[in-house]
């Protein structure tokens, strides 16, 4: 079962060397199959437009999986239904190429329903040819999403029952409802008149891409004599008389006269420009040398846990400590408890500031606990290392830590913050109290760290006052 394509267009290979069987002249399609007809229209258009070198055809899964046997163009063979996504990927990285996505009805309307919908909706600059033969040809005649009601297939042996299988999907109509597509038409690969219309549609759909206008979609009603159990003339007749009733021919959308062509420009940057664009050019780094404080042995190399409610700025407090530590050329790490805990519940983070390489960034036994709510105090107090430090906001926490083997520093941080103008900076009061009490970081490095970490710099005036108030309180 093979059809010869009379007078091959130049876009076809002269001899189909990629075809594995002995016959390298005829296609693998059954006699009367619509695929061959559509191939020829596409091949002629490519030849006439002189775009053969630029064309990349996406080969689907289905009877047309072997498009690469025939077309002398670039090819990507892809997974079942994914052609529009692959077409998107290649077109976006090589916009000068002409990307043709060719799909059957199982491929496009069933398994690949999501991919085609979204490629169309994004208005990808690709040309889609959709072969609707109302059946799964390749796998032996099972039902397609486009199988007509009552039609018998190997998986609808009693005929398609709309109560069990639903209705045929009208893809052209569906795609035409979207805003982005530029051109949507349904044609039939049957008699001379319909073939002439199909030829025009194929050319237009490719031209739209050549003009950088956007997404074009041509649905072609196509005979599958084998799957339908008909001879080729009857199959064509059936398309004209039955199929077109359900799937009317015509243009469903055409805004090609109205859309502005897109200009694809390639941006080429120098190494320096790239580094600047992604913020790794060192611009944000200070070359300043920071003088470290002399730190008492017991406060050196702290493993810090900062804990409180989400929204108290717990994570920021930790981040400023880590950033300041880095400025003073300590090794640092910061690790948040992330996820739902960040949203309204409790929040905590682990901070290491060390003269040595930091092995585990996790702080399971903190040497310093900075804590701003009662549940966190109750949870983490028992974990603090013997001889360690607990700093807690006693304007919010109405109990006292009971451990006798640790240093306990109450700081009415929220109250102090209120007094200087905003409850929000209580975290900074706590930070000030911690660095003031232990001397682990200098005020200078912490102030500079604020400017690096906090995006809204106008807030830092108040933040700095809060830090100073915290330092003062413990002095």
């Amino acid at each position: 079962m093979a059809t010869t394509i009379l007078k091959k267009p130049g876009t076809f290979y002269e001899v189909f060397t990629r075809k594995p069987d002995a016959d390298k002249i005829n296609t693998h399609y059954c006699p009367g199959c619509g695929h061959g007809k559509l191939h020829k229209l596409i091949a002629e258009a490519i030849e006439d437009f002189g775009i053969q070198d630029r064309v990349i055809i996406i080969n689907p899964v289905g009877c047309s999986v072997f498009l690469y046997y025939y077309f002398d163009t670039g090819h990507i063979q892809v997974a079942h239904g994914r052609a529009p996504a692959v077409a998107t990927g290649i077109k976006r990285v090589h916009p000068h190429s002409i990307v043709i996505s060719y799909q059957g009805d199982g491929d496009l309307a069933a398994i690949g329903g999501n991919e085609i919908l979204h490629a169309a909706n994004r208005g990808e600059h690709i040309t889609v040819f959709f072969v609707n033969n109302a059946i799964y040809g390749m796998t032996g005649g099972q039902m397609a999403p486009t199988t007509l009601p009552g039609m018998k297939t190997t998986t609808t042996p009693r005929g398609r029952d709309i109560r069990n299988e639903g209705y045929p999907l009208k893809m052209a109509e569906l795609i035409a409802t979207l805003d982005a597509p530029v051109y949507v038409e349904r044609v039939a690969l049957t008699d001379a008149k319909n073939m002439a219309r199909a030829r025009k549609a194929v050319r237009k759909a490719i031209q739209i891409q050549m003009e950088n206008k956007g997404f074009a979609f041509v649905e072609a009603l196509s005979a599958c004599p084998t799957g339908w159990g008909m001879n080729p003339p009857d199959a064509e007749k059936w398309i004209n008389e039955v199929m077109t009733k359900y799937f009317p021919l015509g243009v469903f959308k055409d805004i090609s006269d109205k859309v502005e062509p897109v200009k694809f420009e390639k941006k080429v940057l120098s190494p320096e420009e790239i580094k600047k664009a992604i913020g790794v050019d060192g611009e944000t780094l200070t070359m300043k040398k920071y003088q470290r404080n002399i730190v008492a042995e017991k406060y050196k190399n702290p493993k810090i846990k900062v804990a409180g409610f989400g929204g108290q700025g717990i994570l920021l407090l930790g981040l400023v400590l880590a950033q300041a530590g880095m400025l003073e050329e300590y090794n640092v790490s910061w690790l948040p408890s992330y996820g739902p805990e960040m949203r309204g519940g409790t929040a905590n983070c682990h901070v290491n500031i060390s003269e040595f390489e930091i092995a585990s960034p996790l702080v399971s036994i903190p040497t310093a606990l900075i804590v701003m709510n009662r549940p966190s105090l109750e949870k983490f107090e028992p974990t603090v290392k013997s001889g360690g430090l607990i700093i807690y906001d006693n304007s919010l926490i109405d109990i006292e830590p009971s451990r006798k083997d640790v240093e306990v520093i109450p700081v009415p941080a929220t109250k102090i913050a209120d007094d200087i103008g905003s409850t929000k900076v209580a975290n900074m009061v706590m930070l000030g109290a911690y660095i003031g009490y232990t001397g682990i970081l200098t005020k200078e490095s912490v102030f500079d760290a604020l400017d690096i970490v906090v995006k809204r710099k106008e807030l830092n005036e108040l933040n700095r006052r809060a830090i100073e108030a915290g330092i003062e309180y413990v002095m």
């Binding site: 670039g74 990507i76 063979q77 892809v78 996504a85 692959v86 976006r92 948040p336 036994i365």
Partner: protein
């Protein structure tokens, strides 16, 4: 260049762009979303492509398309999203496409949770898709390595024309540490195999189809030979205080950081314990494990899972040495102290055994 404080997920994108990656396709999922967010911000700035795909299935296939064009491209996701991508990875392995996939693992199975886990080892290292294929898997354990290994991943992907994973857990993705960035690269498109819409590449075909059984067998054997080459050339690991160690701890990702603390603390108490950290999970450091087995008496594997990588340790040893496993999962992370207790028990047993043999 001086160091910059940055989150792991954000360092990934910068490492990728510096490696010459100019296309990112992804679908949001915690705890990997910051990667897509950073890519959406930065890719257009460097003339690159960013698309938020309609699903992970679409994302991996967009990546398949971009990779077919010979351009450095990537995606990132977390466990459930990776499950969805497996079809595309199998096709890419079959079609021999270079691409980089970042997996910031979370808790499973099913929707599980968004906490850090290492439950994707099987689906990533053993190949979650169909067919005889392997992928190179790099396992960073710091923010610096999130950048560096992503940077390296693109070179390896191209060198071997294969998908390469950067496999990290939620903690490594969310963690903030200082990073020093490498210099930008400008890789050339290899026109010998890709399709880019030019005359030079017109005759190229990207496919995973080999219809004839003899041909498909040959293709599979060629792939196998490639994986053997990767095994010979690309094994990477870190061995820490293993020279005289009686017990070797084995862990990757965030676990290896905790295990380093375990080694440091236990060494202070005189325990002869060391750490082997696989940096490549495929290829797995089998040789090194066998070498260590000559002097060590026991391997102690720790994972954020119920035991996946431990299989590879056992396979490497093939009975040469005893293997113990300790795992936490579901987002529970063992503390150094918790592991130390376990390891101390093991030492007691080892000593008893030595006693017994005398």
């Amino acid at each position: 260049m001086a160091k910059q404080l940055m989150k792991g997920n954000e360092a990934v994108v910068r490492g990728a762009i510096l490696a010459g990656c100019r296309a990112f396709f992804g679908y949001p999922i915690t705890p990997a979303s910051e990667i897509a967010e950073a890519a959406s911000l930065l890719m257009p700035e460097v003339g690159g492509v960013f698309i938020q795909a309609e699903s992970e299935v679409a994302a991996i296939n967009m990546l398949f398309g971009a990779a077919s064009g010979g351009v450095r491209a990537m995606t990132a996701s977390s466990s459930p999203g990776i499950s969805l991508m497996q079809e595309g990875v199998s096709y890419a392995a079959g079609a021999e496409l270079p691409m980089v996939i970042v997996d910031i693992m979370r808790g499973g199975p099913g929707l599980g949770n968004i906490a850090p886990e290492q439950g994707d080892y099987y689906q990533v290292v053993k190949g979650g898709g169909h067919g005889n294929y392997k992928v190179i898997v790099l396992a960073p354990n710091s923010v610096q390595e999130m950048c560096d290994l992503t940077y390296l991943a693109f070179d390896l992907a191209e060198k071997y024309r294969t998908p390469v994973y950067v496999l990290a857990d939620g903690f490594i993705g969310q963690m903030v540490e200082p990073v020093e960035f490498p210099e930008p690269k400008f890789p050339e498109i290899d026109k010998s195999w890709c399709v880019d819409g030019t005359a030079e590449t017109r005759h190229n075909l990207i496919t995973s189809i080999y219809l004839a059984p003899e041909e498909l067998e040959q293709h599979n054997l060629r792939l196998k030979e490639k994986y053997e080459r990767i095994k010979r050339n690309e094994v990477r690991y870190e061995a820490y205080k293993t020279e005289d160690a009686e017990v070797i701890l084995v862990g990757y990702g965030i676990v290896s950081r905790i295990l380093k603390s375990v080694v440091d603390i236990m060494r202070e108490d005189g325990y002869k314990v060391g750490l082997l950290r696989p940096i490549t999970l495929f290829p797995f450091p089998e040789e090194k494990i066998r070498e260590l087995a000559k002097t060590a008496s026991l391997f102690f594997v720790v994972e954020l899972s119920t035991g996946q990588m431990v299989d590879d340790v056992k396979l490497a040893l093939n009975g040469m040495c005893e293997v113990r496993f300790y795992g936490r999962c579901g987002g529970m992370v063992p503390s150094a102290e918790e592991i130390i207790e376990q390891v101390k028990n093991v030492f007691k047993e080892v000593e008893k055994e030595i006693e017994h043999q005398k």
